[in-house]
Symmetry: C2
Subunit: 179 residues, 2 copies
Amino acid sequence: MREDTRTRIQEIALRLFTEQGYEATSLREIAEELGVTKAALYYHFKTKDDIVTSLVDLRIADVEELLEWVKSQPRTPETRREVLERYAAKLKRPQHIQMARFLERNQTALRDHPKLSRMRDLMLELANQLSGPEATPVERISRSLALFALHAGKWMPGDLTEDEVDKASMEVALRLLEP
Amino acid sequence: MREDTRTRIQEIALRLFTEQGYEATSLREIAEELGVTKAALYYHFKTKDDIVTSLVDLRIADVEELLEWVKSQPRTPETRREVLERYAAKLKRPQHIQMARFLERNQTALRDHPKLSRMRDLMLELANQLSGPEATPVERISRSLALFALHAGKWMPGDLTEDEVDKASMEVALRLLEP
DNA sequence: GTCTATAACGGGATAGAC
DNA sequence: GTCTATCCCGTTATAGAC
């Protein structure tokens, strides 16, 4: 049973965009790896940009969901803790780790892409939800950093196991939530 | 007194590479803004890559200096605190803020550039110097994040003054050094 | 749904005049 | 030190056959 071609294009594109960068990845490369020609891609996606759009949409839905949840909750320490846990759980799914990397690494190259702007706005809003309007600058920076800490796996050198990094990141993140 | 052309090329290139990304910035754009033609750039720099090299060299020297200093010091809490302060002081100079942004935003596009690899290695080593070999995973992540916290100015939304962000970032960073 | 062929363009880089 | 002119290449994208 061959996988949907459209889906395979998305997988390959996401990997190459992440490894090499969006601009540095040509449609020819994607097509070659898929075993078809460039032109075939144009049947599935109108432009190179459209591939990005289709990718980001998945993650936007995910973060929007988390954002709506947190807004429906009382602004308590317990809620904040659970935001981190839900966010970490999302991150653990392989697709989303890679998507997070892709977004991080291509923010500049794709700075004018509407979907990327939307993602940035959502992440900022999520960070803000951890603070609230009355928070001090120290609290606001500290709590924004808490979200970031959960991405630690990506830049920590490799002599720690994945599990060690996950646990330790969460511990650091939780500490950053404390007043 | 006109400024050195070579220096002006560096300034314009750094700004455009940072704003738009390395790949997305063409030599034509740089030349146009300088008021000369593409070909003129080739008198001053052998390739587009060479412009990057000339830029990164400045910052490499800076971080190497800090790294040598920390290695010459005893591994104490006081030393670690001073590393953060020296690093923050370097960051405050406008050239280096922009250089840090440039490096951050073009890590993927320039992942094969030897000077960029060198910069990454230096930053990792600096982060490691804050921990030492016997540190727990939580300490290592926490202390690496301390360095990162000092860059907070770049992604915090704009309703805080620069001074507020600087002070608060340092406070968060110092807290991340604590056991 | 995938192909071949090709258009149309912009990129980095070079040669040689001034 | 800067110019014009040009080369060569890879890129996105399209047209039309199968």
